[in-house]
């Protein structure tokens, strides 16, 4: 059974009401933010595939040797390999799982799933979005019209069909997903957690509203005055947020819209490293890039300043047209 499905309403409210939702400074380090994630919890990851992946926090959780976490994300890329291989989690709920189409099927994912060492729980893309949305709205389910008739639905045990009392149509109900913690990387956030996102927002906003805790990593921390100058650009309100961490290049080697594109050479390097001997490759990668560096800046340095600058040049170019 999947963990953390359809939290009952009174318990969800109690948990929410017990959070300190006042306007207060929440700035801390990656290591301190790890304190908001406990072993065994369900963690949702913002972004999608190679875009706005909250890699800095995933990196910190792996270094903190968390255990028995389960994860969900719209589409999972290499962070899924690293979650399984590092041992912090053995259950990932998503609609698609591999580094990215151009790199083929993840050999690490295959190793863990085909040997039943970990679970890749497959839901349709939209159903995951609607599960977060139900969680965000404080209702126990969302109605939808896809997934019926498929084996994706057939192998899930927490779906319900109903006949619509208004139209008589067959409707699928998917249960709310209220993650214990959501990890979301943004371009700008103030010290209180008011986050402004540019470009594609993926499922991040519903995810933040649904979660029982939210950790925001941000390219830069801006003042609350800046937020209040453009309040209609704020996408995540401060009272949903528990921790704010400034993490420049916090998605590397993935992209952050308008700031940097993916670091393709590094992604090619990882794909090559894990192609033939997936487990040896991913373990070597973890040793070199996750456990060895002293801090996030050292991790970035290992990836290489040249690659960062190139990715940043390409990233900003979206505003050149």
């Amino acid at each position: 059974m999947e963990k953390n499905v359809t939290q009952d309403y009174l318990s969800l409210r109690e948990q929410t009401q017990s959070r300190d939702r006042s306007l207060r400074n929440k700035v801390m380090t990656l290591e301190e933010a790890c304190g908001f994630v406990s072993d065994g919890e369900h963690v949702s990851l913002g972004g999608s595939t190679a875009s706005r992946t909250p890699f800095a926090m995933v990196w910190a959780l792996i270094r903190a040797r968390k255990k028995n976490l389960s994860f969900s994300r719209s589409i999972v890329s290499t962070e899924g390999d690293l979650i399984f291989a590092s041992g912090i989690g053995n259950h990932i709920l998503t609609s698609w799982f591999s580094q990215g189409i151009v790199w083929g099927v993840s050999r690490v994912m295959r190793h863990f799933t085909e040997n039943r060492l970990a679970r890749f729980e497959e839901w349709s893309h939209m159903s995951i979005g609607l599960r977060y949305r139900a969680g965000a709205m404080g209702v126990p389910f969302m109605p939808m019209r896809s997934m019926m008739g498929s084996d994706v639905a057939a192998q899930l045990d927490n779906l319900e069909e109903m006949t619509c009392p208004f139209t008589g149509e067959k409707i699928l109900l998917v249960p709310a997903l209220n993650p214990d913690v959501a990890l979301i990387h943004v371009q700008r956030c103030d010290p209180y957690g008011n986050a402004q996102l540019d470009g594609l927002t993926f499922m991040d906003i519903d995810m933040a509203m649904a979660a029982n805790r939210v950790i925001i990593t941000t390219e830069r921390i801006i003042s609350n005055d800046q937020i209040r100058r453009r309040p209609d650009h704020t996408k995540i309100p401060f009272f949903t947020v528990d921790a704010v961490v400034e993490a420049p290049y916090g998605c590397a080697p993935h992209e952050c819209f308008g700031v940097y594109e993916p670091l393709f050479p590094h992604m090619d390097y990882y794909a090559e490293l894990t192609r033939k001997e997936p487990m040896e490759g991913v373990k070597a990668y973890l040793d070199e890039y996750y456990y060895a560096p002293e801090n996030w800046t050292e991790y970035l340095n290992l990836i290489g300043l040249d690659k960062l600058l190139d990715a940043a040049r390409r990233g900003r170019s979206i505003y050149d047209d």
Partner: protein, 257 residues
């Protein structure tokens, strides 16, 4: 390749034939690769009013020749878009009915147009765990589908191991009965033929063969019995104009090698 080699590749043929399947003014939910390229090609040829949607949340981008986006979730696919929305919102456009065509590639398809991108072998003990549905299940559940894929026996199987993206499910009225009352598989465009589906049984049917392809060749490259009318027609070969436009869009042959 079973088709007589002309002055174009099988992928180019697939692209041109797929582009022709789109009509002007349509809203097309496109996957990366051939679908994206073919939709863009259609815009340059007979269907300038086609609007492209990507599952990352992009509405109506301008695809720049030679800079085809490698994915549907990164900023490259948002160039000069009309609007960006969340993943959930862009998929809900399918459910609401704003989309005319879902346009995808496929790894494995069966006689009823069901697609599998989840498991080779049984789901409980697969020989290969594939990456999964992504947007495929929602797209094929909620709109009319065009799938572009090479026609090979191992890809065209009688029944897929796992229905990731439903076509006509088990045939007959089974798709509708399962609750999928709209959409459905419309065309499978291959390097050999244009395939459709019988309205009653939901089984795959040859609509037209590409130039030089015989009914026997189409059947040989299919793992189940195709419905082939003896009077089945032949498609027009790619024109010079089509090929020129295609090569202008993908000069490095990223998707058309």
């Amino acid at each position: 390749m079973t088709i007589e080699t002309k002055d174009f590749t099988a992928s180019e043929l697939l692209c041109v034939m797929s582009a022709r399947a789109l009509e002007d003014g349509q809203v097309v939910f496109a996957g990366v690769g051939i679908p994206l390229l073919a939709a863009t090609l259609a815009q340059r040829l007979h269907a300038p009013g086609v609007t492209i949607l990507f599952e990352g949340g992009t509405i109506g981008p301008h695809v720049v020749p030679g800079q085809l986006p490698p994915t549907t979730n990164e900023q490259r696919c948002t160039r000069k878009a009309n609007m960006l929305v969340s993943i959930t919102e862009v998929l809900l456009l399918l459910q609401r009915g704003y989309v005319d065509v879902g346009f995808m590639g496929g790894a494995q398809i069966d006689q009823y147009g069901n697609l599998n991108s989840s498991f080779i072998g049984s789901a409980d003990d697969p020989s290969v765990r594939l990456p999964g549905t992504g947007g495929g299940n929602d797209i094929s559940s909620l709109t009319r589908m065009i799938v572009a894929m090479p026609q090979e026996k191992r890809r065209f199987v009688e029944n897929v191991d796992f229905i990731t993206s439903p076509g006509y499910v088990r045939g007959g009225t089974s798709r509708r009965d399962s609750g999928l009352i709209a959409g459905g598989m419309y065309r499978v465009v291959t390097d050999l033929a244009i395939l459709g589906f019988d309205e009653e049984t939901g089984r795959m049917r040859v609509e037209a063969l590409h130039p030089g392809v015989t009914p026997e060749q189409a059947q040989e490259n299919t793992g189940f019995e195709l419905i082939i009318d003896s009077s089945v027609g032949t498609t027009e070969p790619p024109t010079e104009e089509e090929l020129a436009a295609l090569r202008h869009l993908d000069p490095d042959k990223v998707y058309t090698a």
